[in-house]
Amino acid sequence: MFNYGDVLETINMVEREHLDIRTVTMGISLLPCISGSAESTARNVYDTVCEKAENIVKVTQELSREYGIPIVNKRVSVTPAAVVCAPFADKSHLIGKALDNAAKQLGIDFLGGYSALVHKGMADYERTFINSIPEVLADTERLCSSVNIGSTKSGINMDAVKLMGETVKKTAALTAARDGFGCAKLVVFCNAVEDNPFMAGAFHGIGESGAVINVGVSGPGVVRHAVECAHGADLSELAEVIKRTAFKITRAGQLIAREAAKRLNAEFGIVDLSLAPTPTVGDSVAAILEGIGLESVGTHGTTACLAMLNDAVKKGGIMASSRVGGLSGAFIPVSEDEGMIKAAERGDLNIDKLEAMTAVCSVGLDMIAVPGETSASTISAIIADEAAIGMINNKTTAVRIIPVPNKTVGDCVDFGGLLGRAPIMPVHKLSSEKFISRGGLIPAPIHSNKN
């Protein structure tokens, strides 16, 4: 028989501390869909996604009721569409539309994988594909896009970095009526992973099999509660508390992942050990850092606290799951975290500090709203800085930035729902134009040569 403490702890985690499974994401290979024309490929893509993920909503709802743990998001990721669209890149939008329609048919909120991998070089068809992203994001509702522009092994493709700065600006302009909402669905990666279940950066890697279930666990509220209860603990004791909590959360994720895979006729892929905040009060990563002892996230000591937190979550989680993957780290999306929003509004958290924080956690400058007048080259330079951190530290970094049209510092933008709201944060005004216009490739670092 179970003891009261264990049973009540689990129930309290769900009822009071927002424990949930953040996402069950089915990765689907689109490679068998490629056929002679864009039109027939688009039909195959729609049929394949609808068939493989047909029961994803039903099954996850069932699991949630049986195990008594909310499963917040049900999503699908697919093979990077640039690969599927290679023979007819000028008609890539047809594939984008088919994917968006499939997401609607399945009843899921986001589908990821309108993506390109150009970390070492960019073929003509890939450039054409990337050029389609702004219009496709403006014309679709649920489709997410990502582009990998660098890796530790290959260096940083600065031509792609330049193009992505322009792409972000164009996406914002085409979705200006919704405050540049399209940019919230566009991620620029360095060291992108093939099995990430989290949006907007999820895609199903070429090395993956036909249909895979990847699960993202979460639980900032649970960790915060554990930290609050550990009165007087020193930091190594606190790390132990966080590890134990992460272990429990991850075990729940592993159980759901295996069961979901079985019921959906897919392989079990990975559990992603991420602390993913939501705008709900009590579900904040910033609040954990403040619970450790910072007056506000963003002040001195933030990077050190975050490093400890991130490492402890991984150590607890790795013991709990047979397969760990994805991004696996604490997320710090500004607009999706109540504590981050408040710190940014007070001016206690700026982009420079966020950049430093991304060196020790997952995943990058995420959901940051900047003035609409920010130039494409400045956005490219922000991307390049993040990519450099990822490349040198052998980790994934990303930029999801929204240059909000017609808004500036002092204004606020509200995307609603899980994407939250954000104050417009200032960027440096001095130019990076000449650096970005040089183009070329930043060579891979010396420590990438491991063979």
Binding site: M1, F2, Y4, D6, V7, L8, E9, T10, I11, E15, E62, R65, E66, Y67, G68, I69, K248, R251, A252, Q254, L255
Partner: protein
């Protein structure tokens, strides 16, 4: 399949009778039962077996939650594996 049923709330008469009535009506067998009073609150944990149950676990969970709302208690029914996973190495 076995599940853990928990009832938490302010103590009152007839809680076990009402819960047991729902379970026996659906063919759910009670394997073990344990109750205590924690800081004025009634807390009961039951281990139940659904092998001969007429309804799936998800429906039983919904019906018990509704019963809980009716009698002013919080009632959860969860697959036992969630507790095994989270609290046993």
């Amino acid at each position: 399949m076995r599940a853990v049923l928990t009832v938490i709330g302010k103590d009152k008469t007839g809680i076990i009778a009402k819960v047991s009535a729902v379970l026996s009506g659906k063919g759910v067998n009670i394997l073990d039962i344990s109750q205590t009073i924690l800081q004025e609150y009634f807390a009961m944990i039951m281990l139940v077996d659904l092998s001969d149950s007429e309804i799936p676990l998800s429906v039983l969970a919904d019906e018990c939650r509704a019963l809980g709302e009716e009698i002013g208690m919080s009632i959860h029914v969860q697959h036992e594996d969630i507790f095994n996973a989270m609290h046993k190495v």
